[in-house]
C-alpha cells in the first residue's frame, strides 16, 4: 500500500509529468471535441493545427491520426546555438530557461504561478534557443515516437546527447558550491537532470551538513555571544540523528 520509493520523482514519473506538456499537432483525420476531466479538447479538423497535451498527441500519432510539429527549440540550428552557449559563452552555468510566457500584471492572475509542465514551452510557437524544463524527456519521447516529423532526427539525437553530457558535468560540478551549505542556484536545470542528480546532490549536502554540524553550532553560538544582536531568532539546536 504505502509507496516504497525514496523522496523525489523517478525518471518514469518525470516522463509522466512531461506528457502533460502541450504540443502542436496537425491532424490527419477529423476528431470531435472530447469532454475530458481537464477540460474539452479542441475539435480536430485537418489541416488546422491544434494544441494537445503530449500524451494525447502520442496516442493520435501512434494510430497515424495526426502528426506532431516539433517545438522550435528542438530543431538542429537552435540546439547548435544552445550547445555553443553551454560550452563557450557560459562554461560553468546552465543556459537560461525560456522566459515565462505569462508576464505578471498588477492584478494577481492564475497564470502568475504557473510552472512546467503547464507552460506552453513546447508548442509550435514557443521560443527557440532556450531549453525548457522538460527538454530532455520531451526530445527523447518525440525522437522515439515521431522521428519522421522531426527534420534531421539523427543530428538532433547527437546534439541532445552532447547537451546532456555538457550539462551533466555542470550538475556534478555544482556540488562544489554545496560545501558551505546555504542556497545553491541551479537556474536553467531540467527535470530529468534533477531526477538523476538528486540522490547524489542531496547525499553530498546531507553528509557535509552532518560533518559540519559542530562547526555550524559553534559559529552560531559565537555570533550570539558576540552580541551584535542581529536578531537571529533561529533556534540553534542542531539535532543529530
Amino acid at each position: 500500500m504505502a509507496l516504497p520509493l525514496p523522496p523525489g520523482l523517478t525518471p518514469s514519473e518525470v516522463a509522466f509529468v512531461c506528457e502533460l506538456e502541450m504540443v502542436t499537432v496537425v491532424p490527419r483525420q477529423q476528431l470531435k471535441s472530447h469532454d475530458l476531466l481537464s477540460g474539452p479538447t479542441p475539435a480536430l479538423r485537418p489541416p488546422h493545427r491544434a494544441p494537445l497535451p503530449l500524451w494525447l498527441a502520442l496516442l493520435l500519432k501512434r494510430q497515424r491520426r495526426a502528426n506532431i510539429i516539433p517545438p522550435p527549440w528542438l530543431l538542429p540550428t537552435s540546439l547548435e546555438r544552445i550547445l555553443r552557449y553551454e560550452t563557450e559563452t557560459s562554461p560553468s552555468a546552465f543556459s537560461p530557461p525560456p522566459p515565462h510566457p505569462h508576464t505578471v500584471s498588477v492584478l494577481p492572475s492564475a497564470t502568475d504561478q504557473m510552472t512546467p509542465p503547464f507552460l506552453p514551452s513546447s508548442t509550435a510557437d514557443a521560443p527557440s534557443g532556450h531549453l525548457p524544463y522538460h527538454w530532455l524527456e520531451l526530445g527523447e519521447i518525440l525522437l522515439e515516437a515521431c522521428s519522421d516529423d522531426i527534420p534531421d532526427p539523427d543530428k538532433v539525437r547527437t546534439l541532445l546527447r552532447d547537451l546532456r553530457e555538457v550539462r551533466m558535468a555542470k550538475m556534478r560540478a555544482s556540488t562544489k558550491e554545496l560545501e558551505g551549505g546555504g542556497v545553491v542556484s541551479l537556474r536553467g536545470v531540467g527535470a530529468m537532470e534533477v531526477a538523476e542528480g538528486r540522490q547524489f546532490v542531496v547525499g553530498v549536502m546531507d553528509g557535509l551538513r552532518k560533518l559540519g554540524a559542530s562547526r555550524e553550532t559553534e559559529r552560531r553560538r559565537r555570533e550570539e555571544e558576540g552580541g551584535d544582536g542581529d536578531g537571529n531568532s533561529d533556534d540553534d539546536d542542531m539535532e543529530m540523528e
Binding site: L36, L37, M205
Partner: protein
C-alpha cells in the same frame, strides 16, 4: 460540483462553436486548474520526506468526484458500442487512468510517511492537523495494532516503566521525526509580499555563514527543507 461547474457544463453543450483553440488555451476552468493543483500537490508530496498539510480546499475530494463521474460516463458510453465511439473511449479512459495514478500515488506517498513516523504526526496538534480524517483514523488504528503486537510479543515482559513507546525522559524523545534539514530541490514561484511581483527571498543557513538569497520566478535551487518549508506552505515555492 458547484453551480459554476454546472453552468460551465451547460454553456458547453449549448455552444459547440465556443470550443475553438483560443478558448481552450485560456480556459483555466476548474478541470484544468484542479489538474494543475493536483500535480503540484503530488510532486510536493513526493519530493520531501516530511508530510505536508492535506489540501485544505477539498481538492482531493473534488478530483475523486470528478473521476467517479467520468467513469460513470464511460460506463454509459460502453452501452452503445460502435467503432466510432471506441476511440473516444480510449482517449477518455487513458485520461482517467492518468488522474487515478496521480491520486493514488499522492495518497500512497502520504501513507508511507505516516507509517514511518506515526507517533510523530500524532504527537502535537499542529502535526495532527496535517492529516485528513481518514488518515487520522488510519494512523491511530495502525499505532494501536502495532502497540498491541509489541506488548504481546515482547514489551509485556519488560518492567512497567520501560513499556512506553513515547518516553521523553532525560530530554531525549523516543519519537523520531523526519530530518528537517535534508536537502530539497525547490522552484521559486514569485512573491507578492512587496506589492508587485518579485523573487522569493530565502534565508539560507550554511556552515560558515547564513545569507539571504533572492530566488527568481521559475528558478530552481537546492536548499535545506527547514529553510524553505514555510515558503512551500505559503505557495511561494514548489518542490521539484
Amino acid at each position: 460540483m458547484d453551480i459554476s461547474d454546472i453552468l460551465l457544463g451547460l454553456s458547453r453543450t449549448h455552444d459547440p462553436l465556443a470550443e475553438d483553440d483560443s478558448q481552450y488555451e485560456d480556459d483555466l476552468g476548474s478541470g484544468q486548474a484542479d489538474l494543475q493543483a493536483l500535480t503540484r500537490a503530488w510532486i510536493n508530496e513526493r519530493a520531501t520526506i516530511e508530510l505536508l498539510s492535506w489540501p485544505k480546499d477539498g481538492l482531493i475530494e473534488r478530483v475523486i468526484d470528478r473521476v467517479k463521474a467520468q467513469i460513470e460516463k464511460v460506463e454509459e458510453l460502453t452501452g452503445d458500442m460502435d467503432p466510432k465511439t471506441n476511440f473516444s473511449l480510449i482517449i477518455i479512459q487513458t485520461e482517467v487512468e492518468r488522474w487515478k495514478f496521480l491520486i493514488r500515488s499522492f495518497l500512497r506517498a502520504r501513507i508511507a510517511k505516516i507509517d514511518k513516523h506515526t507517533l510523530h504526526y500524532l504527537s502535537t496538534p499542529e502535526l495532527h492537523a496535517r492529516l485528513s480524517e481518514m488518515e487520522v483514523a488510519y494512523a491511530t488504528r495502525h499505532q494501536q495494532l502495532l502497540h498491541e503486537h509489541y506488548l504481546g510479543s515482547f514489551l509485556g515482559s519488560f518492567p512497567q516503566n520501560l513499556q512506553n513507546l513515547n518516553d521523553t525522559a532525560g530530554g531525549i524523545s523516543m519519537i523520531g521525526g523526519p530530518d528537517q534539514e535534508s536537502g530539497v530541490f525547490v522552484r521559486g514561484l514569485g512573491s507578492r509580499e512587496f506589492g508587485d511581483q518579485s523573487g522569493v527571498v530565502v534565508k539560507g543557513r550554511g556552515r560558515d555563514e547564513d545569507g539571504e538569497v533572492e530566488v527568481e520566478r521559475g528558478e530552481v535551487v537546492v536548499a535545506r527543507w527547514s529553510d524553505v518549508k514555510d515558503l512551500v506552505e505559503r505557495g511561494e515555492m514548489e518542490l521539484v
